[in-house]
């Protein structure tokens, strides 16, 4: 009884922002373009399942392309006027129609690609953070809001966005926003760091058939709810940093003593803060013994 009243009395809602990687240069999409449609259906069903949990829950879907990030839902400006055509709940139909319509619009209008090109995931996540903070600002007084970001991607690791990633992760951590990642293809060690920092779930799928079921199992429960369920345990996180000069993940490197920038090779002037370092001489042998006083 007590428990139930707590459940109902706390006036809260949760906002889920899904960042969907729609870049056509993802390996799995190039091999089988049909997959993107399947993913989309799974994502829509998952988003609606989130909305179904509670009437105040909010959803936003962002598409991350190779050249731009766009809102798939809610539509910027005026919403579509969707009437019910079958037994589906009106709000859910609206999500489905809007996402599909927006995505086809984006794909047809995207500039042609000559060579595979990486997705600007970090930028999309930054946009998601901005959206969350705007909603947070507009939240009515006395209403508690929990927000999280779910990234669904089949892209490769892109260490070139290392700096943006780290900024996003630490901002999210500070704002108490959980970042979840569902990697469809390669292991994403950078994003895995983000999950670890913000206390989110990282899941790399080995088979793509049951995407919806994976999403519903692992990512549907709220972070507060997750401790009550048994979820995949966190694996060891690869905390390697990317160097600022060649954007490669390194184990051991040089760190600027002033601004903490990381380099894989020694450079006499820090490219970030322009500090001048002394050129290290040859490694000295044994230090000379001090003269006796």
């Amino acid at each position: 009884m007590n428990n139930k009243s707590q459940d109902h009395d706390s006036n809260k809602f949760s906002l889920l922002v899904i960042v969907l990687d729609t870049n056509p240069s993802q390996r799995i999409v190039r091999q089988n373009p049909q997959l993107l449609t399947q993913f989309l259906d799974a994502i829509i069903a998952f988003g609606n399942a989130h909305l179904m949990q509670c009437s105040q829950n909010k959803l936003a879907v962002l598409s991350c392309h190779h050249h731009a990030t766009d809102f798939l839902y809610p539509m910027p400006g005026k919403q579509l006027d969707v009437r019910q055509v079958d037994g589906q709940y009106e709000v859910f139909s609206l999500v489905e129609k809007t996402v599909k319509q927006r995505l086809s619009h984006i794909i047809t209008n995207a500039p042609k690609l000559n060579a595979p090109c990486e997705s600007i995931l970090a930028g999309s996540m930054a946009m998601a953070l901005c959206y969350i903070s705007r909603i947070q600002r507009n939240a009515a007084a006395g209403v508690k809001m929990h927000s999280r970001i779910l990234v669904v991607t089949g892209s490769n690791e892109c260490a070139s966005q290392y700096m943006t990633y780290m900024n996003v992760f630490f901002t999210a951590q500070k704002l108490g926003i959980t970042i979840d990642v569902c990697a469809l293809d390669k292991t994403m060690s950078l994003l895995q760091q983000g999950c670890d920092i913000t206390g989110g779930q990282y899941l790399r799928l080995t088979q793509l058939d049951g995407l919806l079921q994976y999403l519903l199992w692992v990512f549907l429960p709220d972070p507060q709810m997750r401790q009550k369920l048994v979820l995949p345990p966190a694996t060891k996180v690869d905390y390697r940093a990317a160097c600022f000069c060649h954007r490669e993940l390194i184990d051991i490197g040089y760190v600027c003593s002033v601004c903490l920038s990381i380099f894989c090779k020694f450079s006499p002037i820090c490219t970030t803060c322009h500090t001048v370092f002394k050129i290290p001489g040859p490694i000295p042998g044994k230090p000379k013994k001090k003269k006796k006083v």
């Binding site: 006036n11 009437r83 055509v85 079958d86 939240a139 009515a140 007084a141 519903l216 009550k228 048994v230």
Partner: protein, 491 residues
């Protein structure tokens, strides 16, 4: 001495009946309501995607996760597997969720090969929840296409309309409706009166007039959403005798509850009975319809999310639609209450538990005193209800004030505590039904009987000097039997 005792029946006993506690207003939520239905009714209800959706949202959190996990699984899931989904620390909560699902007939136990028992979602529920989530099936009954309304109604209009209609009912209850007929009350229909009587919110008195009951007063203190829900439940209770079918009405109610505010819907294709139901909803302000015969209606905020009281207050304030200010009460730490209102209803309700000091055209000033609160408590209103009423209508500025003590309530903590203390000080007595044993002939008899009563935990009170003891009513038979045995053996 023992001879003398054996002849009589020993210590005399007398029974005191418990003073009956006055009945309080019982508010059920959807879950509790459904639990009182039969499994057959539930099965019928689950034929409607809207009801499935509403039921799903009312489930406990863990139960919701369980349902969604097995929604797309085509075979029964062994109980052991389901049990392994939850963490050990929350086993109790999980068991409660599982039993809730069973009680609501959402899932049931089946046997699977290998002698294991497994959970299987009720097939009707499963099918219709999938329809609500993913689409398919028949459209809901009110979604016929309409040509564009020439004079569409905006949200602000609908809000005012709905509240005016609903206040009519409330005004009628406090009897203020008659005094100022000009304002917004056109009186209410005999049907509505019948529901109020059925719900025991009002009663006929000796002079055949209708007066408000204590449940009625408690009803007034609820927030509007709970009032609507309670009222609708009472309506549904009586719907069978009006010839309306419960599943139809309930599904209609939830369709409205899941509709979009400010959008018009069509009543085309509805049966005559459902149209009657719609007219009733129109009377209470749950829907707006320009004319009785018009095939177009607008659901109002009262009908939206009828089971969830937090959903009515928009969680996000958009720049374009300003929410109407609902709070008007300011409570200070010196127990003064300022209410910015001129509605006689609100003043009447406030007067139930405050001592009104001044009245101005748009402001009423009162003070919460021990006497005024005790007056309300004596009338059967609880401290909890007073506090929640003040919280619910707290002025928006009250929610903004920074207080040193972190509390969820916008009210000053001292006032909240004091109201609760005033209630507690009335609870000095606990009533227990019991039987008195006295006039023992010897100390030994008394001691034996007392020790026995104590040993079986039925002794309520004893006094050794007057040789009096009180045992609980349940224990009386045991003690009596013991006494008979003992006095026989002794004699």
């Amino acid at each position: 001495m023992s001879d003398a005792k054996a002849g009589r029946s020993g210590p005399t006993t007398s029974t005191y009946a418990l003073i009956p506690k006055p009945a309080n207003l019982q508010c059920m939520d959807l879950q509790e309501y459904l639990r009182t239905r039969t499994p057959e009714t539930l099965e019928k209800l689950y034929n409607y995607p809207t009801i499935c959706l509403a039921v799903y949202r009312e489930l406990p959190e863990i139960a919701r996760q369980f349902v969604i996990r097995i929604l797309f699984v085509e075979q029964p899931v062994p109980q052991a597997v389901v049990a392994s989904w939850g963490s050990q620390h929350y086993a109790k909560e999980q068991a409660a969720s599982a039993s809730c699902l069973t009680e609501l007939n959402v899932w049931r136990v089946t046997a699977i090969p290998g002698g294991l028992s497994a959970w299987e979602l009720c097939s009707t529920f499963k099918k219709n929840l999938k329809i609500a989530l993913l689409g398919g099936g028949k459209p809901w009954s009110m979604s016929h296409t309409l040509e564009k309304d020439s004079k569409p109604r905006d949200i602000a209009f609908l809000d005012t309309y709905a509240m005016a209609r609903w206040r009519c009912v409330l005004h009628y209850m406090v009897g203020t409706g008659s005094s100022n007929k000009t304002q917004d009350s056109e009186g209410i229909s005999p049907d509505a009166v019948r529901i109020l009587l059925h719900a025991n919110l009002m009663k006929r008195d000796e002079r055949d007039g209708i007066t408000i009951t204590r449940q009625g007063f408690q009803f007034l203190l609820l927030d509007t959403q709970s009032q609507v829900w309670h009222f609708m439940l009472q309506y549904l209770d009586t719907c069978e005798e009006r010839g309306l079918s419960l599943p139809d009405c309930l599904s209609m109610l939830f369709q409205l509850s899941f509709s979009t505010l400010g959008r018009d819907y069509s009543s085309e294709g509805m049966s005559a009975k459902m149209l009657t139901f719609l007219q009733h909803l129109r009377e209470f302000g749950l829907v707006f319809q320009r004319k009785r015969k018009e095939g177009r209606f607008y659901p109002t905020r009262l009908a939206l999310n009828v089971t969830n009281k937090h959903a009515t207050v928009p969680a996000i304030i958009n720049e374009e639609d300003k929410v109407q200010e609902s709070g008007y009460i300011v409570v200070e730490t010196n127990y003064r209450v300022y209410a910015y209102t001129d509605s006689p209803l609100q003043v009447a309700v406030l007067g139930l538990f405050t001592e009104l000091l001044y009245r101005f055209p748009n402001l009423v000033v009162g003070v919460l005193t021990r006497d005024s609160v005790r007056q309300a408590l004596r009338g059967g209103i609880t401290a909890e209800q007073i506090v929640s009423y003040l919280e619910q209508y707290a002025h928006p500025n009250m929610k903004l004030t920074e207080s040193a003590i972190k509390s969820k309530s916008p009210l000053p903590p001292t006032v909240v505590d004091q109201i609760k203390l005033w209630e507690l000080e009335r609870n000095r007595f606990t009533y227990t039904e019991g039987v008195v044993y006295n006039q023992f002939l010897s100390q030994a008899d008394f001691v034996t009987l007392r020790d026995y009563a104590q040993s079986i935990n039925v002794l309520v009170h004893m006094n050794e000097r007057t040789r009096t003891m009180v045992v609980t009513k349940n224990g009386h038979d045991d003690v009596k039997r013991f006494w008979k045995r003992y006095s026989k053996g002794g004699g």
